[in-house]
């Protein structure tokens, strides 16, 4: 392999890491936000409380921008399989191609199509069909995640295929074996819950921000309360799901767990849990480590004296980059426990009746607002870098997966991506921040009949609105002060 080819490979990997890190932020947000919107609209239709509709309108704008950026960055991702990873696409295409096609079809026909109805259709299709569209968008985000995580999981734990004479991975007996490969159920649960938590902490952070400015704001109270329920109830479930996922990884991808744990050496009589340290892959040791004896065996084998193999049992050329995996895993786990802590703190505040006036709780929730994004990116780095040096685990090396491109070509497209992504998605993110900075209030962007001023004045003193073609913009039999609290 020439230096040029090595450089092209490295650049292609940087490009994929860069684009997928940008992309992953948006679906991680929109998966949870779609479900949150479904709950809000459902509560509005069920209870008739305008507060839920106001919150729905408030977050729908954020969702639309996040969704658009997620889809656009996702389109770039799929094209990249052809531009930079054509060898991988050629060899694995017969297996992953149909699954990715289902993901794209879902994104187009469920998510994007019905998002249009959500944004444009209320006065055309009525409330119930509008709610159906919201439910279909939420379903679409989940189904989309289902297919793309199935593809990714197959790359981690490939099953259900046969090797063709030309080196291609071909579908074997049953597609179910491919779709429901061994790591898929665990990855799906862990990732989707992560998306829900990410959204909950953004909503909680925005609610906290507005409570710090005005603790009497009913809209901020409601969104903060709903988010803190999610934190308190779902964060423990996520830690449990993560533990199950880790045990599954130990079974099917042991070297990834060795890297996560920083275990260069095997431990025949119980492995320690290394809390912190600096992995040194040259010296094959973790420097300055702080460890608890036998706890790693206790967690991974449920027996403090159970033997655990280390990276010394793996050929050097098959080792993942330990330092990155070791630290990204700790960032993810650390944030997970911080989320749990905030959830428990909110329960204490709720029990004391101080959920809406405990300033330090609101400050902590504000700081934790973007933590979900950091956690999902860190988790993704853990699982993807932990799979290295393979694209298809133990079967196809990353170095053998790239397109035969020269480094300058990849460098040029990488530079274009960096500039375009920071410009387009920077503006989009700034706009989302601006939307979330706006104070949620009654009649969110909406008006009641008569509030809009005259439609035609004919040169006389302005009178009340005269638009007989439009019904009341809000049901007259629904008092505006009928607000949900707590």
């Amino acid at each position: 392999m020439t230096i040029d080819a090595l450089d092209a490979l490295t650049l292609a990997r940087i490009q994929f890491a860069f684009t997928i890190s940008f992309h992953f932020i948006f679906p991680a947000f929109s998966i949870g936000l779609a479900s949150f919107l479904m709950v809000l609209e459902g509560l509005w239709l069920k209870t008739g409380k305008p507060l839920y509709l106001d919150l729905f309108k408030y977050w729908l704008k954020v969702f639309a921008v996040a969704f658009a950026m997620g889809v656009v960055s996702g389109i770039v991702m799929s094209y990249q399989f052809g531009t930079n990873w054509s060898v991988f696409s050629d060899r694995a295409g017969p297996v992953i191609g149909p699954l990715m096609a289902y993901e794209v079809l879902t994104a187009f026909f469920l998510e994007a199509g019905f998002l249009g109805v959500m944004l444009f259709g209320m006065n055309r299709v009525g409330k119930k069909l509008h709610f159906a569209a919201t439910c279909l968008v939420a379903l679409g985000t989940f189904v989309s995640a289902f297919w793309i995580l199935s593809v990714n999981s197959w790359m981690q734990t490939p099953t259900g295929f046969v090797m063709g004479d030309n080196g291609q991975f071909l579908p074997g007996g049953s597609w179910l074996d491919i779709i429901f490969n061994p790591s898929f159920p665990y990855r799906l649960v862990h990732t989707v819950i992560a998306a829900y938590l990410t959204t909950a902490f953004v909503v909680g952070g925005v609610g906290a921000w507005h409570l710090l400015r005005n603790s009497a704001n009913a809209h901020a109270r409601k969104m903060f309360s709903m988010a803190m329920w999610m934190a308190a109830l779902v964060a423990p479930i996520q830690i449990f799901a993560g533990d199950m996922h880790g045990l599954n990884t130990l079974e099917h991808q042991p070297q990834k767990v060795m890297a996560m744990e920083g275990h260069y050496d095997s431990h025949p009589e119980g492995a320690p849990l290394i809390l912190f340290g600096i992995p040194d892959s040259e010296a094959k040791e973790v420097r300055y480590k702080l460890e608890i004896p036998k706890v790693s065996s206790l967690i991974l084998k449920h027996d403090p004296n159970a033997p655990l193999a280390g990276l010394d049992t793996i050929p050097d050329e098959d080792e993942p980059p330990v330092g990155i995996v070791f630290w990204s895993f700790r960032v993810m786990v650390g944030i997970g426990f911080a989320m749990l802590g905030l959830g428990m703190w909110s329960l204490l505040a709720r029990w004391r009746g101080r959920l809406y006036d405990w300033t330090w709780l609101h400050r902590a929730a504000l700081v934790m607002g973007p933590s979900g994004f950091v956690a999902v990116i860190a988790g993704w780095i853990t699982t993807e870098v932990g799979r290295q040096p393979f694209t298809v685990y133990n079967l196809m090396r990353t170095a053998d997966s790239a397109s035969p491109l020269d480094a300058p070509a990849v460098a040029t497209s990488l530079l274009a991506f960096v500039i375009v992504y920071f410009a387009v998605f920077g503006i989009g993110t700034w706009y989302i921040m601006k939307l979330m900075h706006n104070i949620p209030h009654d009649d969110e962007t909406g008006v009641k009949r008569g509030d809009t001023g005259p439609i035609r004045t004919a040169g006389i003193t302005p009178g009340p609105s005269q638009n007989p073609g439009e019904a009341d913009t809000f049901p007259a039999d629904r008092p505006r002060d009928d607000r949900g609290e707590g």
Partner: protein, 49 residues
């Protein structure tokens, strides 16, 4: 088609017959997909260019 960012026209929509509401749903759905399809082709041409 009028963009209704206020989402306050639920009663207007409910007043329409079901076939008309379903027709609007289909029309908006198709248009949304068409717009996204155009964006996808735009990116494809950009990447191929």
């Amino acid at each position: 088609m009028r963009f209704d960012p206020k989402l306050d026209g639920g009663e207007t929509g409910d007043a329409r017959p079901l076939w008309q509401r379903l027709g609007w749903m289909l029309a908006i759905w198709v248009l949304s997909i068409a717009v996204l399809g155009l964006v996808a082709y735009g990116i494809k041409f950009w990447l191929n260019g």
